[in-house]
Symmetry: C2
Subunit: 451 residues, 2 copies
């Protein structure tokens, strides 16, 4: 892209940098050369770049791209199924759907679709655990979005690994292939402390350390988790267990982390593990409310996530930001908890910190990857706009995102996706929907009949 131009310059916006000083620059510019931000400053500098492509932010907000720290994106193909009270949604619907419907092709196409929705909603990086992550990698490169992709490792056979724990080999192949990719960060994703053996957890940690990749894991999501740990740790917290066996290191990224005690928070903080806080999914799924306020106060490296599209069907990180405030304030009956600036931090630089990627993404600073979004402030819902952080957290909607730049590439401009034909995507997804619908309806009917 931009072959004819030396680079891209975004002007005429309020640049909310999220840098160390949380600088906000009125009438600021962000200069992009190749995949890198080379200057963030005031509009007077603009004449230095006469032959750059200019994006006019039209008094909007220029923000680092949002980081969605937890998802299972290909499940978007099943979004909206089983929403009417199936008792065991996982066993009666999701597992059979995955077993019978997932294919390389479906995972590729569903990832395209989800990545389009992300890019059009201001999400420039997402963290994902799923299967056939090599297909996902191809898809995200096609759309041009950044992702940490973790191949799922679990004790039973799954769609891309017929042997127990086959994901480990699959993941190592992914790592070898994408180790130096500009957009994909390959990772290993042991599913949860109760679904992966101690030995395999330690093997995963050892391989991740060797290849210097992140580990993604679900932790403390359910109340029954302590009783599902290995015999000698039964009743203990998952964090205690994982730390005690030597699995927890700063490359470990913990999804959910709902049921934590003070000691757990201290361990996470000291080891510098990352946390993905998923307030909307945790609520919708009936799992409860994580201690986000306490974690933030303790200085835990924490981002926010939607979780997968069957857990938080609206892949809307603005709504997730509001969800952070709503759930903490309802829980503690205190309207002053979780200030807007703190929540925008979680959606940007905090997410980057949770991934140990704060030197690369999460703020608009010279030398970082050019992951930038422009949010218009002309639509009725963005007026008035007294306080940029409050407007981002409590007013903004995905459709206010007009331009999305990822790794220096203009992925969306003026609400038009530049990298993929959205009509093609629509047609493919409608076809997938038609194929899945009869089987899913049968599963739902069966589940209702027997429940």
């Amino acid at each position: 892209m931009n072959e004819m131009k030396s680079g891209v310059i975004i002007k005429n916006g309020t640049v909310v940098t999220m840098d160390k000083h949380r600088r906000i620059i009125d009438k600021g510019i962000v200069v992009v050369e190749g995949s890198i931000i080379t200057e963030v400053g005031s509009e007077v500098c603009i004449k230095k770049y006469p032959d750059f492509k200019v994006i006019d932010a039209e008094n909007g907000i220029v923000l680092p791209g949002l980081i969605n720290t937890h998802s299972h994106l290909p499940m978007i193909a099943f979004r909206g199924l089983g929403e009417n009270g199936i008792k065991d949604r996982l066993f009666d619907l999701i597992f059979p759907l995955e077993k019978n419907m997932l294919s390389r092709e479906l995972i590729y196409n569903a990832t395209i679709h989800g990545a389009i929705e992300y890019a059009m909603s201001g999400i420039t990086t997402f963290v994902d655990m799923y299967y056939h992550t090599d297909e996902m990698a191809k898809a995200i490169k096609k759309v041009g979005i950044r992702a940490v992709l973790g191949e799922t490792i679990i004790r039973f056979p799954v769609v891309d690994a017929p042997k127990p724990y086959g994901g480990l080999d699959y993941g190592i192949d992914l790592i070898k292939k994408y180790k130096n990719d500009p957009l994909v960060v390959p990772a290993l994703a042991p599913h949860a402390p109760y679904s992966v053996s101690k030995e395999k957890l330690l093997e995963t940690q050892s391989l991740s350390s060797e290849y210097k990749t992140p580990i993604l894991i679900h932790v403390s999501e359910r109340t029954d988790e302590p009783m599902r740990l290995p015999e000698e740790y039964k009743g203990k917290s998952s964090i205690y267990y994982l730390n005690n066996i030597g699995f927890l290191k700063k490359n470990v990224h913990l999804a959910h982390a709902i049921y934590l005690d003070d000691k757990d928070i201290e361990i996470i903080k000291n080891i510098k593990c990352g946390v993905a806080h998923n307030p909307v999914a945790n609520a919708k799924s009936g799992h409860g409310i994580a201690r986000a306020f306490d974690m933030k106060k303790a200085g835990v490296r924490m981002g926010i996530g939607t979780d997968g599209p069957m857990s938080c069907n609206s892949l809307n990180l603005f709504e997730t930001m509001r969800g952070v405030a709503m759930m903490q304030r309802a829980q503690y009956k205190n309207a002053t908890l979780m200030k807007p600036i703190e929540i925008v931090e979680m959606a940007t630089i905090g997410g980057a910190e949770s991934l140990q990627m704060e030197d690369k993404i999460g703020s608009l600073e010279k030398g970082k990857f050019a992951d930038i979004i422009v949010i218009e402030t002309k639509s009725p819902n963005m007026v008035p706009c007294y306080d940029y952080y409050a407007a981002l957290v409590f007013q903004a909607q995905p459709f206010n995102v007009v331009t999305t730049v990822i790794n220096g590439e203009i992925v969306m401009e003026n609400r038009k996706l530049q990298t993929f034909n959205v009509e093609d995507d629509h047609e493919i997804m409608k076809h997938i929907e038609q194929k899945i619908r009869p089987f899913a309806k049968e599963l739902e009917a069966r589940s209702i009949k027997y429940s």
Copy 2:
């Protein structure tokens, strides 16, 4: 409007009627003549209406307009202020702002702005308590939206009533003027059980019964409410108090209703009072989680509301629908509570029932007012769409609403507002913002200094 045509026909959509049988008509039509729906049926009937204006729903969802059952819309002028932890936001910020900034002109212009945002987000009726409700009435008729407007009655002087309880006279004037208006339903709005005397509550009820208008009141919103009731009822619940003095009748519409016991729910149900459930505002304001599931189960007439734009800055009833599920499921740790169809009911026919207006609005049925929205299902966030109710509750965003018809008038078509120049509104609101900003910043600074 449509002077040249005999009426309007919406075709080529899935009509989610919300009628008694909850009929869903694939490839359905809705026929509008004047302000009334005259037919809801299958597309084969279309040839009966050769000279009607045709709106093509393009395979989208045709739904009754959403009903926002609680708001203070002119506060949109202050939206985004005081979001950084002012301790007493009401006394240190909101009251001084209202005292110094409110004028007839501001209330008119802010109502225009809010009504535009509503109409563009699929809200066709809203319920409001505020001041200078005659200005609000003028504004909403200009935009062409339907509203129940309650003039606030409170024990101290306010902007439009220099004497205590002056709102009562103001409200009676409003009622006389708008009694037979096609869009405005005038109402009286005693602020709360603790801020209006027993005598004035009963006077309000007697006048409302005489004029056959609704009464809007905040109830059981705060934990300290029982201790603020009149001496002989101190410690009792507000519902007990209001019922005991003979104030509660089916014309009473209760906003919030958070802290209810089983007996309170029974009383509300038996008397057929309406309830406005505001899950997002209740959470954001730290007030807690209302017993929506229990109320729904008991058969209470219940709608959903955003509350005012300082309590729920995003005036987004789709998000409020999701909020219903999130808060109940987080509270009771049960993912099967509040099914999508039940939540869509609350946003449509349930809201109408809460206002005793179920014979006029809330569903797509012959003889009802033509309040209709079309929701496109082509944007990535609406794909797939296995289940219309689940897609509406968990996927839809305001920008998916493409067409809004209110009282037979096409207020928005293809995302273009037809009744008001949105650029004029933008300019006026930016001017208001500039005027309010310095005073508000001074109040915020003072509050932070002294807190």
